[in-house]
Assembly symmetry: C2
Homo-oligomer: 336 residues x 2
């Protein structure tokens, strides 16, 4: 298996990206890694002598935050994202990992790698930390304006991903809503509820009904289905509250000698606590619905996060989500 890694994407590129990719190559003999980026910089970041299985492909341009996400991959044809995704499309690799611009990666992924036939929109599906094993949030911001059909497809994409890549048995799929009764929500939710309920009753999905954000965070389902706007608000709220409470907690422990001693006494627990909310360990976000796996790592990723994102890419390749989606695409189409 060969994973293509965007060596130039993210706040800590190329050093942390390259180091993370090398760590994965060393840990998994037989795994091939292609680092795409400015060759001299990539080789400098790698240090002397590449481990076996690791190669470098030169790409002279870098897409950054100032580029228009929708056009960047065309305006910069020799960027690491354009070159890497083109290699993926052409079969010169099995999956692509990037910590670069989400918008550019999403546009380029959709237009170069392309969606699976019949899938209306690709979706981003992070595993959100919750009580329990976490919940797949689909979509978390790729598509702000959604139709019932998009949401129905997101439900299948998330369910297949949870089952095959995360190995959740018979994943519980729920619709993010503002109440649990079937009369709750806006027009989009009312209609989507009916479509998901029908899919559940037909045995195609384990649809468990509407779920409120509060219960989703407590781990009340395995896959939460949302339009990209609402999903993004939920995700960013979780991040914000985590950061806000983390700071409050830090302030509490730094107040006096007494509280600093307390911090020492619970040091292990505090570290575990931080670890649970750490994007480095949580890993990357897959784009679901494309013909081949594309994994977006957090922009602030350090080596450990990239290493984990590479493993996630390996899992995604092994899961063959695209094959399962193609086999079931008939269930995901709505007549109009």
């Amino acid at each position: 298996m060969k994973i293509i890694v965007d060596a130039m994407g993210g706040d800590n590129a190329p050093l942390e990206i390259v180091q993370g990719a090398l760590a994965a190559a060393r840990a998994r003999p037989g795994l091939e890694i292609v680092l795409v980026g400015r060759e001299a910089e990539v080789r400098a970041a790698a240090g002397p002598g590449l481990p076996s299985g690791v190669s470098v492909v030169n790409a002279t341009e870098v897409i950054d935050m100032h580029d228009d996400p929708a056009r960047a991959f065309r305006n910069k044809p020799d960027s690491s994202i354009t070159v890497g995704l083109t290699m993926l499309r052409d079969g010169q690799g099995d999956a692509f990992v990037s910590a670069g611009s989400t918008g550019a990666l999403f546009s380029a992924g959709t237009l170069i790698v392309k969606r699976i036939r019949g899938i209306r929109r690709a979706a981003m599906a992070p595993l959100v930390p919750t009580a329990g094993r976490g919940v797949v949030l689909v979509d978390c911001g790729a598509t702000a304006d959604c139709t019932v059909e998009y949401l129905l497809q997101f439900a299948y994409l998330g369910s297949f991903y949870a089952a095959r890549a995360l190995r959740v048995d018979n994943p519980r799929v729920a619709l993010l809503n503002i109440g649990t009764e079937d009369t709750k929500g806006d027009a989009l939710r009312l209609e989507t509820y009916a479509a998901l309920k029908a899919a559940g009753e037909a045995g195609h999905l384990n649809f468990t009904g509407n779920i409120e954000a509060k219960e989703a965070v407590k781990g009340g389902c395995d896959v939460v289905v949302a339009d990209g706007f609402t999903g993004n608000v939920m995700l960013k709220t979780i991040e914000g509250v985590g950061s806000f409470l983390g700071k409050e907690l830090k302030g509490m422990f730094m107040k006096s000698l007494k509280t600093k001693i307390a911090a020492l006494l619970v040091r292990d627990g505090l570290n575990q606590f931080k670890e649970r909310l750490n994007p480095d360990t949580v890993g990357g976000t897959p784009f679901l619905g494309l013909q081949k796996p594309v994994i977006k790592a957090h922009g602030a990723s350090k080596a450990k996060a990239i290493e984990n994102a590479v493993y996630q890419a390996v899992t995604a390749v092994e899961a063959d989500l695209a094959g399962q989606i193609e086999a079931n695409i008939g269930l995901m189409k709505m007549s109009r």
Copy 2:
């Protein structure tokens, strides 16, 4: 000033409701309180002898969670909500406080007390705990499907409320969105952004642009404007993460003798921490856009929360939001 209190609403009615209302009456001589509910139960909860200024109005029915929110106030014409809101409409009191069913209170408020002329939808506007002094979230769930005009009106309602009731100087009003650039968001957000920007440029609102949920939680604005669906998801996510992290933290401190000692050492800080997230101290949620103040207290309210909600009602009466909204209604209408 006379505050009408629904003695029968909420999980802890009538005892905690009545005790909270009595505490407010005792603390603020001259403040009149009318307790509406089953007279015998209300008097029993009050104990022997009502403080001066406190009276009881009998209402034999109680609206509960099993009633259809939209019809409950009509199906139960002698309920504490119907009787209390009718008194408010008829000038037999200046504001209404209830910990009862949100949906029933909202429907009854809209249909009995009525919206201010020109206001398309009333909104619920809780003060959400954030870093800093908190942020007014408008709407948080009353109206799931919104138009641009609704959101424009919510912005004014929230701004007036923050300025006059919460005494925030020139409140920073922001639109909840999934990015800060003016090209971000769904169709509703793009159009609303333009309307709010125009209002800002005309000097009617201190519109500071789009805000992501993460920055709103960190206190990046004073008023955050959202459709009721998204606002509710944000609010419930905050609640969920608070509860989840609170439990994790408790588990951390309960693990061993060592960690229990640590908990003792930071006890004061931990209590403050809990206090910040405690709905009892945060108080009630005003319904904005009605002709007279209606305050929804949390369903789980104990006496302290009711006492605070009564004070909040007093502040709302003094702020005369309805007067300010009527004077500015011309700014809040969109031609089609």
